[in-house]
Symmetry: C2
DNA sequence: ACCTGAACACCGTTCAAGT
DNA sequence: ACCTGAACACCGTTCAAGT
């Protein structure tokens, strides 16, 4: 009985995840989701308290694709591997980025993920204070997403717009003209997000490592 | 005539900013804003094309509180000062964080801000490639906001919830128990966001500096 | 006791009717 | 030519009526 309810709830949540994957989270409404499942909108309220609970559940479903954290070698490769694995989940569910960034409420799976990452630093001998700051500095990058600076998706801008842009914003234009690390122009095919993400990730990890090695501690006040 | 239209538009936008500041951006609707201004909802559409344009305009208004970038000393204090100044604007308009994070479209003021920051690095002799990566690594932190890891606002959790939390998530609990840099418990009064932001900012600037000093260049592929 | 259709209080935006 | 009320196509959620 409760087993059946759980299954029904799971079915609702995975349907919501699939729907968000295909039509975007903004288009996922209780009514649309109900239609997708062939039920009346109100039927959903037996499985989720309200729309907020639905989204929390969607986060749980998506994060469940992530296995438990595997700690084989040192803290640094462990964290790196973990975050990059999380990143692949984020790429699979593009709506997840905004949901995690936007909503302050933490579901159990979010807390569990954060907890397991903190554990890696602490077990590696990071002091609690340093770990605290390190996690703040990590910020949303611990979820494996880059900050989107520019449009990213959508059509490339028309040539005349590019000309106007480079006139008004020569520095942005110069950045856009930088060749990707594979030699191709960034303008042509956008940034190599994976490369940029790993660059920033390694920069952070370098910083963490350096502070840890130097036995960083807070200034006495 | 066009002057009058501009003034009217400005009035609509600043009213929207004030409204978002006081009741939150989610509660700002075309209808609510119109009511605030004592006009019929449709009247707004003479000054803004649609709600997206309204929000773009709100971003412009908020960012206009920021003066032009002042470059007196080296790149590092210049960038640091600039970002911390931007942070005060963000704190004044809490809705701005989500708007900037969420919407990929860039208004002119957003582009101008980004361009002026890029200029600082380039003029300091950062190569274009390095500047590119550095701006990506900077990410949304160039806007002066920390990533919100936890709830932040709202009521503090009840004691029994804390007990349950520390049992299931001992590492998160340990982080929460870390004393703030002024010696007070974080649990009692939340993190010192300003401190955490500057910590992360300096960590990034350290990394940028180190790469620049070492004359970093991309690996040949 | 359970289910659900209608209804409520909202949205952003279109459009035709009115001046 | 300008303005605007009504209307359209949506929301999330309540609640009472029906079985």
């Amino acid at each position: 009985m409760t087993e059946r309810v759980r299954l029904q709830r799971e079915r609702v949540l995975t349907a919501a995840v699939d729907l968000a994957d295909s039509i975007g989270i903004d288009a996922v409404s209780m009514r649309r989701l109900a239609a997708e499942l062939g039920v009346v909108p109100m039927a959903l309220y037996k499985h989720v308290a309200d729309k907020d609970a639905l989204i929390d559940g969607m986060v749980d479903v998506a994060l469940s694709e992530l296995g438990p954290l595997e700690q084989a070698d040192g803290w640094r490769p462990t964290v790196r591997r973990r975050v990059l694995a999380t990143r692949t989940v984020m790429l699979r569910h593009p709506w997840l980025r905004r949901v995690l960034e936007t909503r302050p409420t933490s579901t159990l799976s979010v807390l569990a993920y954060t907890d397991s990452l903190i554990a890696v630093f602490r077990q590696a001998g990071f002091s609690d204070v340093l770990t605290h700051h390190v996690m703040h500095a990590f910020g949303s990058r611990m979820w494996g997403f880059t900050q989107e600076l520019a449009d990213e998706g959508g059509d490339p801008p028309p040539p005349e717009a590019l000309a106007a842009l480079s006139q008004h914003f020569p520095n942005i234009a110069a950045m856009a003209a930088v060749a990707g690390h594979d030699g191709s122009s960034v303008v042509a095919q956008g940034c190599d997000d994976q490369y940029e993400f790993e660059f920033a990730l390694d920069l952070l990890l370098d910083g963490f490592d350096r502070l840890h090695q130097a036995d960083w501690r807070p200034r006495p006040s």
